[in-house]
Symmetry: C2
Subunit: 344 residues, 2 copies
């Protein structure tokens, strides 16, 4: 089968590999129907060092697929079922999963190898979410449904952890797919003022359609000042940080209102940051967020997609087949594409 | 009048000063009935550099007093009323105060000069909390009522911000007055497992009376391992960090359960700390806390003190008059005293 392997920064190759086999009886093998390239895939695409033995990494952690083969411990599904899989799989029975935190599952891990014809899903019974029978692989809703795997669930996690509601003002930092879907999520949770910080007009325009009430292209201290101008000098109750770089953290501190929340879903590319009296403590700022347990949100987010109330799949602006994935990485990395959909 | 002034590390002096006067019509002058030395007063007591002009700082931010003189803008109180004042005063009308965050009041600040015969209270109407008529200055409840000014309210703030409830396990770091009252607060909010980390037996014994179910004297990695031993390897849902030093922060990260909360009320003596994937983000840890808006908790915490259900005043183990304050600092700094009550 065809699969996309990353060997080093800028080096993604389509290769011929054996179809994956069941390794555990809790596994399922999916035929990939839709996958995509994630903003977080761009981190290794920019920085990965070649492995000394020439080994690469099977890329892709977002997938909708058709069940091809099931381990004997998987029940409640059948061959041919169309399912969406969260980027963080888990058993969905351990105490952490029961609390909605599959990203800390005792038997959990992160999906890999979805940018391929077939993929193995560990802990499949707990992880897989069956799509309604009326959805088939040609459904126009498929791109939106695929966002349940990661980016919509991640934006929603940011908003939930940030305790967004109808009384909170919100700033979203980042106009990537997660940032835009954080806007959509803040809107869904009732926020009336949603300030989107981003500098790519075609993206922020989509952000406005998703619910952003203001767009700010400035960064750093200028960006902070602009947000304060819009909020009576106070800053916003919530900051959804969807970038993961240190300057975005520092900007969050500048933007957040006293007593407010900084909710991070951009994977931090730094270890230490300001948390002392001046930055967080003195103003009772809460810092929260982390990898999104997207499986836990699927039931809740599905209906609005099915009835067309939201169209998170609009973040996909380029579609490729498996041979086109390396070009998809290049385009996303150069910001020519917002998010690349893969239809094998 | 007598007042205690700190000039440098280890240098607190009783001096004769003029009785403070009203500076604003929103001020009140109190005759101090009870005050105390705070654990946070020990930070300057250990580190304060002498001022080049020989000026000192009027110490003390916790007080119960009798109204001696009122500005014309203060209503709803009368001369002779016995009131407790939060260490962070405020107007109690601005948006932040209305949200319960007087520590971010637009007209707020921190009390000073309570270790004296008289003290000026700014923003007095919003800040003062009138004690019930049956309480007079000889009431045996006075020490417990004084803890509403700071240490009980601060321990309670830690627990509230940490979202302690009957389903959460809790670790309290620190066996000072705030740590012990964080134990009492966690108990009040229903926590069934409360692990107290401290190494002074007479203090941790009081912690047990306040509700601690386990005491751990180890620190650092050993301390972390002990907490994990007690919690099925997981750590506790909530960590109440009542120390403020970097090692206590790092220990909190090691102790907190995935998806849990670190709530800080110990004033951080550091600016930067670990917040990256390994420490907070990867496990969806929330970091919260800050200076406690103790005024906001007084109505809620008063009844249990009045009916004797809780006795937070037990943290006071030494009583001095104003002349005895310098000795009180010395004793607290040497850990001969837990908390020093001042009766002028």
């Amino acid at each position: 089968m065809k699969a996309n392997i990353m060997y080093a920064a800028g080096d993604v190759r389509v290769e011929e590999l054996p179809v994956p086999r069941l390794l555990e009886q809790t596994d399922v093998i999916l035929k990939v129907v839709a996958a995509c390239v994630c903003g977080s895939d761009l981190h290794p695409y920019r920085s990965m060092h070649p492995h000394e033995h020439g080994e690469g990494e099977a890329m892709g952690h977002e997938v909708i697929g058709k069940i091809e083969e099931m381990g004997s411990d998987v029940s409640g599904f059948k061959k041919g079922d169309l399912v969406v899989v969260p980027f963080a799989y888990g058993d969905n029975t351990c105490p952490f999963c029961q609390e909605g935190l599959m990203t800390s599952c005792e038997h959990g891990g992160f999906m890999t190898g979805c940018q391929a014809e077939f993929v193995r899903v560990p802990q499949a019974q707990g992880s897989m979410f069956k799509l309604p029978d009326e959805i088939d692989e040609d459904s126009p809703l498929l791109p939106s449904l695929l966002t349940l795997s990661d980016v919509y669930g991640t934006g929603y996690h940011a908003a939930v952890m940030g305790r967004v509601n109808e009384d909170t003002t919100v700033t979203v930092i980042g106009d990537g797919a997660v940032g835009l879907l954080a806007v959509l999520s803040a809107k869904k949770l009732g926020a009336k003022k949603i300030i989107l910080m981003g500098r790519h007009k075609e993206r922020t325009d989509l952000g406005i359609e998703f619910g952003a009430t203001n767009v700010i292209s400035e960064r750093g201290e200028e960006g902070v000042a602009k947000v304060r101008d819009l909020t009576n000098g106070e800053g916003t109750h919530v900051v959804l940080e969807c970038v993961g770089l240190k300057p975005a953290y520092d900007m969050s501190v500048g933007i957040v209102r006293s007593g407010g929340v900084i909710s991070r879903v951009g994977v931090p590319q730094y270890d230490e940051a300001a948390v002392g009296f001046e930055s967080l403590f003195g103003r009772n700022i809460t810092l929260t967020g982390g990898p999104a347990p997207t499986r836990a949100y699927m039931e809740e987010l599905l209906p609005d997609i099915l009835d067309g109330a939201v169209k998170p799949g609009r973040v996909f602006d380029v579609t490729v087949d498996l041979d086109g994935v390396p070009e998809g990485y290049r385009a996303m990395n150069n910001r020519e594409a917002l998010k690349v959909l893969i239809r094998p």
